[in-house]
């Protein structure tokens, strides 16, 4: 073997430069691999909070050179105990900017671009640029959004196999106190976030009448102030959980309420927690989960070891319990599934298309409603929408789909006959015949 020039990341080299028998498929060790990771791999870290700080540091120290980080939050005093890249003088500054700056100061050669904005503010092109996306988030909504974006790049071939060059892998970490999870999402292969959304327990919602009449806990008092009292006092003004004055107001009102009912335990941080649905974060749990995520990222990219398959749970509440579960993807998932391939002539009207679905052996759908990129092309009900969309029935579907040669369309309707009728929602891959640019040739790369 050729001698390798000394590297700052000597330990990492042991993984990347030498062959092994536990490696992933297609692993090609050598200095080229190490250098390619530096040069060609772009990683997006979503979130610059407790997990994000750890992730940026870990990824930078794992040999990644091109990192981006996106976060819409500013640094608060209460972050400082665990979001170790931040100092007291940083309070009020954007998390993404400070985190990027601090890691670049410490790890020479790494280049981190920060984005101080909402994830929804970025165009899809922004996300398509990255090789892999690592998530350090605390909300289901944000995960669901990024998942939809990443799965949206996925394309399937005519045999319903994912096209490798369109796969945008994700690594997702999350913590709640002493518990956490790390998972990999390879759209088209592993379950996506939506396939397994049931893994996330719904937020506990107290009955409003309990809050109004019989509060028993500090959280009841806070939710009373937040959900009932706020509207009573601020008619019309919507409550903004990111506005410190609003939180402060809710906190004082909750305190008064607690006093009235002789309830203990209302604090400012509990108020923040209840209102923003934040579970107390513990620095070490964040460190463990982030480390697992950074390792998986390195493994997916380099192939230096087989990846997690596919969901790791960590529980440090009593002693330590950790295990890996292999969840299976939902082939009918509306977000990551292939959908049913349908080839059409450009002249076919929406009405004929709907008729066709009823006879399609893979669908047998009756009473079909159709939606495309957020536009409701036809709705069976309610009457007000049926009326508004009826005129589309005689327009060619190709025109309604603004002449996009191939795209995803969602339909829902009834399957089965008689008493066994069941409603269902399906994803379709509509391809128009004879349009330039729908051949396989224009696809990037090729496997």
């Amino acid at each position: 073997m050729a001698t390798v020039p000394p590297s700052r990341s000597r330990d990492l080299d042991k993984l990347l430069l030498r062959p092994g028998h536990l490696v992933g498929p297609n692993f090609e060790p050598g200095p080229e691999l190490r250098d390619d990771i530096k040069e060609y791999v772009k990683v997006l870290v979503v979130g610059a909070g407790g997990l994000g700080c750890e992730l940026l540091k870990d990824l930078a120290l794992s040999g990644f050179r091109n990192l981006d980080v996106i976060d819409m939050d500013r640094i608060e005093v209460t972050n400082l105990n665990r979001q170790f890249l931040f100092r007291l003088e940083d309070v009020g500054k954007p998390k993404a900017e400070v985190a990027a700056k601090r890691v670049m100061e410490r790890v020479s050669g790494v280049n981190i671009t920060s984005h101080f904005c909402r994830i929804e503010d970025k165009p899809l092109d922004f996300y398509s640029d990255f090789s892999i996306i690592v998530l350090g988030l605390d909300s289901i909504e944000a995960r669901s959004y990024i998942n939809a974006v990443a799965c949206g790049f996925l394309e399937y071939d005519s045999g319903d196999n994912p096209r490798e060059e369109t796969v945008k892998p994700m690594v997702d970490g999350g913590t709640e106190g002493f518990k956490g999870h790390a998972r990999i999402i390879v759209p088209g292969t592993t379950p996506c976030f939506e396939c397994t959304i049931w893994l996330f327990p719904p937020q506990v919602k107290f009955p409003l009448c309990t809050l109004a009449e019989t509060p028993r806990t500090a959280a009841h008092c806070i939710e009373y102030a937040h959900l009932i009292k706020w509207d009573e006092v601020h008619s019309g003004k919507t409550f903004d959980p990111d506005n410190p004055e609003h939180i402060q107001w809710v906190y004082y009102e909750a305190l008064k309420r607690a006093e009235l009912f002789g309830i203990q335990g209302v604090t400012f941080s509990l108020t923040q927690g209840v209102v923003k649905n934040i579970i107390p974060a513990i620095a070490s749990t964040n460190a463990i989960i982030s480390a697992a995520c950074a390792l998986e990222t390195l493994k997916i990219v380099s192939g230096c070891s087989r990846t997690l398959s596919n969901y790791l749970t960590y529980n440090g509440v009593e002693g330590l319990h950790t295990k890996v579960t292999e969840f299976v993807r939902d082939r009918d998932c509306l977000v990551c599934g292939p959908g049913v391939l349908i080839e059409l002539d450009t002249s076919i009207t929406l009405r004929k298309f709907i008729d066709l679905l009823e006879g399609h052996p893979g669908l047998l759908l009756s009473r079909v409603s159709v939606t495309h990129r957020g536009k409701n092309l036809y709705m069976q009900a309610p009457p007000v929408l049926e009326e508004m969309t009826r005129s589309n029935l005689d327009i060619p579907l190709f025109d309604l789909m603004v002449k996009i040669p191939k795209d995803i369309v969602h339909v829902n309707g009834m399957v089965g006959k008689g008493d066994k009728k069941q409603s269902c929602l399906r994803k379709l891959r509509v391809v128009f015949k004879g349009i330039d640019g729908v051949t396989d040739v224009d696809m990037a790369g090729g496997a």
């Binding site: 909504e141 669901s144 796969v167 009955p207 409003l208 009932i228 380099s302 409603s369 069976q380």
Partner: protein, 203 residues
């Protein structure tokens, strides 16, 4: 996957191609499921749905309920629905936009309906919620009070509750609280329905 990333990155550097796909809005799983719920709605005549932002925004809609029996006969009550992108993982947010004298609806329009909060399940749908709201008007209940006073009156003196509801719907004071006259109520009377029918329903 390094090989792939390398190829892609090189291509990107070469091309920087803007193929116009960039700003397309992704439909969330929540929107798709809601689309299904809406296209399968099967509402009674007493419930009317409308979409203030047009046919392509299903996430925000309104329901008008016109009870055809009970204390609230003759009234029309407007509810706003706000549905999140992670629906049905989370229930829709529902507010009553019509100020109403009701034990389970407060004066700010908060609604105490179990399936909107603690008993929400992803298998439930918009239809279930609308029926639930409708039932609040045919069977108001004093056991889950949001309007404490109204609940106490309903429990202790249904006759007085009936007269308070009517007072509120016709426009006037119930205790310290002023209610606007419901325009539906005008219509109700001009349409010739007799007041006796209203009294006949009281206990």
């Amino acid at each position: 996957m390094i090989k792939l990333f390398k190829v892609k990155e090189k291509q990107r550097e070469l091309a920087e191609n803007a193929n116009g796909k960039g700003h397309v809005k992704k439909q969330s799983a929540g929107e798709l499921r809601l689309h299904k719920d809406i296209s399968e709605l099967n509402l009674p005549m007493t419930c009317i749905i409308s979409f203030p932002n047009g046919k392509d925004d299903l996430m925000n809609f309104e329901i008008t309920i016109r009870p055809d029996e009970g204390y609230y006969l003759g009234g029309a009550f407007l509810f706003s629905f706000q549905v999140s992108h992670i629906y049905p993982h989370e229930p829709p947010k529902v507010k009553c936009k019509t100020k109403v004298y009701h034990p389970n609806i407060d004066l700010e329009g908060n609604v105490c309906l179990n399936i909107l909060r603690e008993d929400w399940k992803p298998v439930l749908n918009i239809n279930t919620v609308i029926y639930g709201l409708y039932h609040l008007f045919t069977e108001p209940n004093y056991e889950d009070p949001l309007n404490h006073d109204a609940a106490a009156v309903l429990r202790d003196n249904p006759k007085m509750f009936q007269s308070n509801v009517r007072k509120a719907m016709m426009g006037g004071y119930v205790g310290q609280t002023h209610f606007q006259r419901l325009s539906s109520f005008d219509h109700f009377f001009t349409a010739g329905t007799s007041v006796c029918k209203m009294y006949a329903m009281t206990y």
